[in-house]
């Protein structure tokens, strides 16, 4: 799980992958689940929470409300038929997280620090919106404790949005870039 690596240089960003479906078994289940998710979203909003997670009978639903970004995202992962353990100290593997958005992959910050779009103040930015990038290409730097941590793209695709201004602080897990993995030059 790349997002659990301790701070070091060249930490690749953690992509959030959009799945084809919620992974439910039937249309009925899907409808029930949608309702349940809606209820959770309501509960979330009503209580001014930013995150709510419920795990029951192998289904895990997590609803999250990014107060800064003002979008509601929901993720569902199914742990199969076996009833899930009561206590799950492990975080969900990044690849199981789903972004309910326009089919884009999000590159998030794996550490807390200051976001820089270029290697030095007078250098050009690593990337601009609209650029095509390759997996492994450096997208930005997050500086923490005087160390420059280069953040790489984990996919090929096109930068559709740069979400943070250069020199701004970023928290752990904060979305930095949106990449369209289906775009080709």
């Amino acid at each position: 799980m790349s997002r659990k690596k301790p701070r070091k240089a060249r930490i690749p960003g953690t992509p959030i992958v959009l799945p084809g479906s919620f992974g439910t078994k039937s249309a009925q289940d899907a409808a029930a689940q949608t309702r349940q998710i809606q209820e959770l979203i309501d509960l979330l909003k009503r209580n001014h929470l930013t995150e709510l997670e419920i795990e029951r009978a192998g289904i895990r639903i997590r609803v999250r409300h990014e107060i800064g970004i003002k979008t509601v995202s929901a993720s569902v992962s199914e742990a199969g038929q076996a009833s899930a353990p009561a206590v799950t100290p492990q975080a969900v593997p990044a690849s199981d997280l789903l972004e309910v958005a326009a089919g884009h992959i999000t590159i998030t910050s794996p550490i807390v620090g200051t976001f820089y779009r270029s290697p030095s103040p007078d250098a050009d930015p690593y990337v601009e919106e609209g650029d095509y990038v390759k997996k492994g290409q450096v997208l930005c730097i997050v500086e923490a404790m005087k160390l420059m941590n280069e953040i790489e793209s984990e996919v090929d695709g096109r930068i559709t949005k740069i979400l943070v201004e250069s020199t701004k602080p970023v928290e752990y897990g904060q979305a930095l870039f949106l990449i369209d993995p289906k775009a080709t030059p």
């Binding site: 995150e51 709510l52 997670e53 419920i54 100290p89 975080a91 550490i111 897990g173």
Partner: protein
């Protein structure tokens, strides 16, 4: 004075620190793991920042991320709360090196007191009473055998880096010593990464008495009475009170003097707690020093009227103590019950959604908690979800108030230890103050 304090903790103690900062006019930064996004402590602060995933090693204990959080938010001090990084000498040292004030003792204080054997040695060298035991680390089984013979059985082997009951072994006779020594060493190694162990006399039915002390940069040290924390289950405290039913004014002054001398000997700064063992004949022995604010600090606040968190902050800022020893008067009696999200009989954790939460109120009742209706008790951290504290003119009134407050406390959706606390508060032995560190074990068996 500090402009902005980063609170490197979660739950009730994070909220406690944020409240103190607000009252001092200091801005606050909350950090949180992904599991705690939206937790009450994050909403109470002026700013909030995610520092990692649920596992505390990668978030609340993640030194680079915590320090980066202080850096990017411009915090000029960090309050570590208890647990997590609060007794990490390295963390305190790094804070100092980058110019962010660590609100607590010096890194040297923490390092020294973290080595329990060495701390005992220093205190003993000043002629202060320590539990009879090996002078320092036991290098071999043979050394342990000699020390035990000299002290007399039963003895207890403890990890030098220990705490919370890990790496401890009670030895009743010479036959048991070899196996116990090896087991304690192995457990110390695996738990603390350090197989250094020492040995002390093991007392039957002792009391756990601890003295709150406060020290400023000029070296003034004041003690703020004792706390009786004898009611423990597997070295986890459940009910605390002050004053101790076993300590009278004369004994209080003696223990207080020893605590102050011990702290002066090590040039201690800020707040700390000196733990003593009190035997049935009212002999007391130094055990160790806790270099953090403690969970049970509110009962001392209730009887002294002094806000200990604010005192930590102003002391860290270099200000003198806000009181002198004669200013410390203990008014009345205070009790604390730790409400854990646990099955009250089997003690299995009970995380989950709190469907209804209604805290008791009224005169003499204090609740320190970051819970509310529709809050989620996440399974990743400590199970303590609330501290219920009462104050009364005397022990009788504090107990009666605790019973009615426990009756009023509504927490639905998860299991809590409230039913156990109700049983303890109505137990005749407890009501008479006849308790020791073995009380709860017997009570639960009986």
């Amino acid at each position: 004075m500090f402009k902005k304090v980063l609170v490197a903790n979660r739950g009730e103690i994070a909220l406690r620190v944020i409240r103190a900062c607000k009252e001092l006019g200091i801005k606050t930064v909350a950090i949180h793991s992904e599991a705690d996004a939206g937790a009450m402590h994050t909403r109470a602060a002026d700013e909030r920042l995610c520092v990692g995933p649920a596992e505390s090693a990668l978030s609340y204990r993640n030194i680079p991320n915590v320090l980066s959080a202080a850096e990017i938010t411009g915090a000029d001090a960090i309050h570590p709360g208890y647990g997590f990084l609060s007794e990490n000498a390295h963390f305190a040292e790094v804070c100092e090196s980058i110019g962010v004030k660590f609100i607590g003792p010096t890194s040297e204080n923490i390092a020294l007191m973290g080595d329990k054997a060495k701390a005992r040695e220093i205190v003993s060298s000043r002629g202060l009473p320590v539990t009879p035991g090996s002078p320092g680390e036991l290098k071999s089984e043979q050394e342990a055998r000699e020390a035990a013979t000299k002290i007399g059985y039963p003895v207890i082997i403890k990890a030098a880096a220990g705490g919370g009951g890990r790496g401890m072994r009670v030895v009743n006779s010479t036959d048991e010593l070899g196996r116990a020594f090896q087991a304690a060493q192995a457990e110390a190694k695996s738990t603390f990464g350090n197989d250094s162990v020492y040995l002390e006399r093991y007392f039957l039915e002792p009391r756990h008495i601890e003295v709150q002390i406060a020290a400023d940069v000029r070296g003034h040290v004041v003690y703020l009475g004792e706390r009786d924390c004898s009611i423990q289950r597997r070295h986890q405290k459940l009910v605390e009170e002050t004053p101790s039913p076993a300590v009278d004014e004369k004994l209080r002054r003696e223990i207080g003097r020893v605590a102050v001398e011990a702290m002066k000997a090590v040039h201690y700064r800020n707040l700390g707690t000196v733990e003593f063992l009190l035997d049935k004949d009212r002999n007391f022995f130094f055990m160790e020093v806790n270099t953090r604010i403690q969970v049970e600090h509110p009962i001392t606040e209730m009887v002294t009227g002094i806000d200990l968190i604010k005192e930590q902050i102003t002391l860290a800022d270099g200000q003198p103590l806000s009181f002198k020893q004669p200013d410390i008067r203990l008014n009345g009696h205070s009790l604390e019950c730790r409400i854990n999200a646990e099955d009250p009989e089997k003690f299995t954790p009970s995380p989950g959604l709190i469907t209804r939460y209604s805290a008791p109120g009224g005169f003499g009742v204090r609740v320190d908690s970051a819970m509310e209706s529709n809050a989620l008790v996440v399974p990743h951290y400590d199970s303590m979800i609330a501290k219920l504290i009462t104050h009364g003119r005397d022990r009788q009134e504090a107990m009666a108030r605790m019973r009615r407050a426990l009756d009023e406390f509504v927490i639905e959706g998860i299991k809590t230890t409230i039913p156990l606390h109700k049983r303890i508060l109505t137990d005749p032995d407890f009501q008479k103050g006849h308790v020791s560190t073995t009380y709860l074990e017997r009570f639960l068996a009986g």
